[in-house]
Amino acid sequence: MLRYTLKRLLSLILSLLVASLVIFAAIEVVPGDPAQYMLGINAQEDTLNALREQLGLNQSVVSRYFSWVAGMVQGDFGVSYTYRTPVRDMVAERLWISLPLALYALALAILVAFPAGILAARKRGSFLDSTVMGVTQLGVAIPNFWFAMLMVLLFAVSLRWFSAGGFPGWDNGFWLAMKALTLPAIALSLQQASILTRVMRSSLLDTLSEDFVRTARAKGLSTGQALWRHALRNAMIPVLTIIGMQFSFLIAGGIVIENVFFLPGLGRLIFQSISQRDLIVVESVVMILVFAVIMVNFAVDLAYAFVDPRLRRRT
C-alpha cells in the first residue's frame, strides 16, 4: 500500500511538471500584451515599456519559467499583473466560492442520483425506471447554461425566491451564502446528477447479476437486502470514477454558470485573466486546477482501495 501510494505520488509529480511546461508554453504563444491591455489605446510607448519592466515581462522565457516554478514550489504563485495582488490570495478567495459550489453541486448530484439510480435498478423495467431514465436523458441533453438562465428567470425574476446572482460572502452567515449558491449548484448538478443516476443504475444492474448476489439470495437475503449489503458497494467503483471525473469538471467547468450568476469563482477568474492577458494568473490558476484534478483522481484511486480490498495490496 505504501509503495503503491509512493509510486502514484511520483507519477503525480511528473504529471505536474509536464503540466507546468505545457501550460507555460501554451501561454507563451498567446498573443497580446498585458501592458497594452492595461494602459489602453492612448498609452505612450515609453509608458508601456516602463510597465513591462515593472511586471518583469522583459525577462527571458527560461528565467520566467524557472522563477514561476520555483515560486510555486514555495507556495508563491506570483503577483497578478493587473490586480497587483498575490495570485495566491486571489485564488484562495475565489476557491472559497468555487470549492463549496462544486461540493454543493456534487452533494446534490449524489443525493439525487443515488436514490434514483438504486430505485430504478431495483424496479428495472417498471414505469418508475422508465421515468427516471427519461428524465435523466433530458437532464443530459439540456445545455446547463440555458437551464441556469431559465431558472434565474423563474426563481429570481418572477418568483423572487432567490437573488439573481452574486455572492454575499461567508461572513454574512452560512445560510445566506448557501442560498446564493443554491441555484448555481442546481444548474451545475443537473447534468452530473443525470449521468450519475445512469451510471449508478447500470453499474448496480451489472453487479446484481453477479454470482455473489445470487449466493446472497441463496442465503436467505431478500432482493433488497442483497442489494444493500452486497451489490451496492461493488457497484461503487464505476460510480466513484465518474464522481472523480465530475468533481474536476465541477471545479473548473463552472465558468459559464459563474457568468450567469455573476459569482466571483475560479472559472471566471481564468476567463477574465485571459482576456486581460494577466498571464501569470492564468498560468497559476490553471496549474492549481490541474493539480486539484490530479489530486482528486489520486484520492479517487485511494478510495477504490477503500471500497475494494483486492486493490489494497500492492499492485
Binding site: L2, R3, L6, G125, E210, D211, F212, R214, T215, A216, R217, A218, K219, G220, L221, S222, Q225, R229, H230, R233, N234, V307, D308, P309, R310, R314, T315
Partner: protein, 531 residues
C-alpha cells in the same frame, strides 16, 4: 414422505420452454445426482426449488419441501427457508463470493439473517462452520478476503456458508467443475462427510458422470429439460437403459482407437533446460523485483509421430511452457529446437521453424475472431508461408482441411457463431492443420467440451494422427483423457517434471507421490471395463 419432492415441474423463460415435467425426490441423508449435458436444465431445476429464477420465468408443477408446498410459499417465506433449511452451493467459486467482504462476515451473515444470534455469537458459529470445512482458524482467520484464497478454499467458504445452519437440504450445482482434480476430490469428500454427519439430503448437479457415480445414492439423468431416466446409482450400469444414458456412459469412458505408427528416432521437438520467469511485485519499498519461475529448466523430446501427454494441476506451468515452445514469449533460459533448429533466433521468431507447429486452445468460443468467416479463420496460418498460395490452392486447402476434420467445405462461408462448441473445436483443428505442420500442441483442447463431444474430438485426433502422421503435445489436467490418447506422459508440478514414462506404465504404476495423488483423485466410473 420425502424431504423434497418435485412433481411435473415445467418452466419457461420469456415463453421459451426450458423444463418439461421434471420430477425427482430427495430423502433425508440421501445424495441425488442430477446429470446431463450442458444446457440440459440441471441448474434451472435447482433454482426452481429455491425460487431463484431469472426474470420472465414461469413455472408450473408441484414442489414440496418438508411437507410444505413451496409453490404457494411467499417470497418472505422463501427467504426464511433459503440458507436455513435449504442451502445451495454454486458452480463458480471464483465469483460466488462478494469480493469486498471478509469471509467471516459472509458466513456469519447467513446466521445473522436467520437466527437471533448476536454478532459475536454469529462469528463464533461462522468460525465453527469454517472449521468443519477444514479451513482452520490459524491459517484462515475470519478477516480474510475471498481474493486471498484459492479456488478450492473459496468453494469451501461457500460450503461453510451453506451448512452453517445445518440445513435439511443442500443443493450443490456443479460444485467442482472449476477446480482441479485433487481439489475436486477433497470437496466431494467433504460434502459426503457432511451429509453423513448431519443427515441432510443433497442434490448434486454435474455433467460429469464419473463425479457422481461413486458418491450418489440415486441418479437423475436429464436431457433437453426432461428427465430421461432415474434410478439408484448401482443401477446405472445394470438397469438403466435409456439410449442417452448409455451414450453418456460410453462417452465418459471413451478410448479412441489408436493405430500403431512407427516413430523415427530423431526427435522432432527438443526442449532443453527451458526456464520461464515472471517478474513479481517488489517485496517492500526498496526490495528488488523478484522473479517467479513458472517453468524451472525442463528437458524433454518428442519424436516424430509420437503423442506426448503433459499433465499437472492448474497453475503448474503447462500453458506457460506451451507459450515458450511456440515462441510467443521469450524464455529466460534454455532452448527450443524443432528439427534441430531453434524457434527463436536473434530475438525473433523464425517463421520457417514456426511453420512446423500449430496450436489448438481450450476455449472453443474465444479462439476465433467472431467477425471473420471460417475461410479466413482457418487460413490465418498462411501468413507464415513465404509464398502465399494462389486462390485456387487456397480454396483447395480450405476444403481439404475442413473435410479432414469432418466438416463440409461449404462451411467456409459461415461465421463462427453458427457452429456448436464441438464444431468450433474441429475448426480450430482445421486451422492448425492447414499448413500441414508436423507438431500440434493441444492445450486443454477438450477440457471445455461435453463428454460426448469430447469423445468425438478424441476420435478425430486419433484418426488425423494416423492419416497424417502428426505429432501431438497433448496438455490436460484430465488424466483419463491423457491416458486415452497419448503414448508417453510427463507429469508436471510447480514448473518441473516429477515423473515421465510410457503412459500405461505411469498410470498403472505411478512412482512419484504426486502422480499417485493425481491418479487417485481422478474420478472414475466404477467397473469401466464392464461398460
Amino acid at each position: 414422505m420425502s424431504l423434497l419432492s418435485v412433481e411435473n415441474l415445467s418452466l419457461s423463460i420469456h415463453g421459451t420452454p426450458i423444463l418439461k415435467d421434471v420430477s425427482l425426490s430427495v430423502e433425508q441423508g440421501q445424495i441425488v445426482g442430477v446429470i446431463g449435458e450442458s444446457g440440459s436444465g440441471k441448474s434451472m431445476t435447482a433454482y426452481s426449488v429455491l425460487k431463484l429464477l431469472p426474470n420472465g420465468a414461469e413455472q408450473s408443477g408441484k414442489i414440496h419441501f418438508d411437507g410444505k408446498d413451496l409453490g404457494a410459499a411467499s417470497e418472505q417465506n422463501m427467504c426464511a427457508l433459503r440458507g436455513n433449511d435449504i442451502s445451495m452451493v454454486f458452480q463458480e467459486p471464483m465469483t460466488a463470493l462478494n469480493p469486498v467482504k471478509t469471509i467471516g462476515d459472509q458466513v456469519a451473515e447467513t446466521i445473522l439473517i436467520h437466527t437471533d444470534a448476536s454478532r459475536s455469537e454469529a462469528r463464533a458459529m461462522a468460525r465453527e462452520a469454517l472449521d468443519r470445512v477444514e479451513l482452520p482458524a490459524d491459517k484462515f482467520p475470519l478477516s480474510r478476503y475471498p481474493h486471498e484464497l484459492s479456488g478450492g478454499q473459496r468453494q469451501r467458504v461457500v460450503i461453510a456458508m451453506a451448512i452453517a445452519l445445518r440445513p435439511k437440504l443442500l443443493i450443490a450445482d456443479e460444485p467442482t467443475t472449476a477446480l482441479d482434480v485433487t481439489t475436486q476430490e477433497q470437496i466431494l469428500k467433504l460434502l459426503k462427510r457432511l451429509v453423513e454427519e448431519d443427515g441432510m439430503g443433497m442434490i448434486l448437479v454435474t455433467h460429469d458422470l464419473a463425479v457422481v457415480a461413486n458418491l450418489a445414492d440415486h441418479l437423475v439423468i436429464m436431457k433437453n429439460g426432461e428427465v430421461v431416466e432415474t434410478g439408484g446409482a448401482d443401477a446405472l450400469f445394470t438397469t438403466m437403459k435409456h439410449p442417452y444414458t448409455r451414450a453418456l456412459i460410453a462417452a465418459s469412458g471413451h478410448v479412441p482407437a489408436r493405430h500403431e505408427h512407427e516413430s523415427t528416432e530423431a526427435p522432432l521437438l527438443e526442449v532443453r533446460d527451458l526456464v520461464r520467469e515472471y517478474p513479481t511485485p517488489r517485496s517492500g519499498l526498496f526490495g528488488a523485483p523478484g522473479v517467479f519461475r513458472a517453468v524451472k529448466g525442463v528437458n524433454f523430446d518428442i519424436k516424430q509421430g509420437e503423442s506426448l501427454g503433459l499433465v499437472g494441476e492448474s497453475g503448474c506451468g503447462k500453458s506457460t511452457l506451451t507459450r515458450a515452445i511456440l515462441g510467443l514469449e521469450a524464455a529466460q533460459g534454455g532452448s527450443v529446437l524443432i528439427d534441430g533448429a531453434p524457434i527463436i533466433r536473434d530475438g525473433k521468431v523464425d517463421r520457417h521453424v514456426r511453420q512446423k507447429m500449430q496450436v489448438v486452445f481450450q476455449d472453443p468460443y474465444g479462439s476465433f475472431n467472431p467477425r471473420h468467416k471460417v475461410s479466413r479463420l482457418v487460413t490465418e496460418p498462411f501468413f507464415l508461408l513465404d509464398e502465399k498460395p494462389s486462390p485456387a490452392e487456397r480454396d483447395a486447402a480450405i476444403a481439404e482441411a475442413l473435410e479432414s476434420v469432418g466438416l463440409k467445405s461449404e462451411d467456409q462461408d459461415k461465421y463462427i457463431h453458427e457452429f456448436s462448441g464441438g464444431q468450433r473445436q474441429r475448426i480450430a483443428i482445421a486451422r492448425a492443420l492447414i499448413i500441414k505442420p508436423k507438431l500440434i500442441i493441444l492445450d486443454e483442447a477438450v477440457s471445455a467440451l461435453d463428454v460426448s463431444i469430447r469423445a468425438q474430438i478424441l476420435d478425430l485426433l486419433a484418426d488425423l494422427s494416423a492419416r497424417f502422421g502428426l505429432t501431438y503435445l497433448f496438455i490436460s489436467h484430465d488424466l483419463s483423457v491423457v491416458r486415452a490418447i497419448t503414448d508417453r506422459v510427463l507429469v508436471m508440478k510447480d514448473g518441473e517434471f516429477v515423473e515421465r514414462g510410457e503412459t500405461e506404465a505411469v498410470f498403472t504404476n505411478p512412482q512419484h507421490p504426486y502422480t499417485k495423488a493425481l491418479i487417485q483423485a481422478t474420478p472414475r466410473l466404477p467397473e469401466t471395463d464392464a461398460a
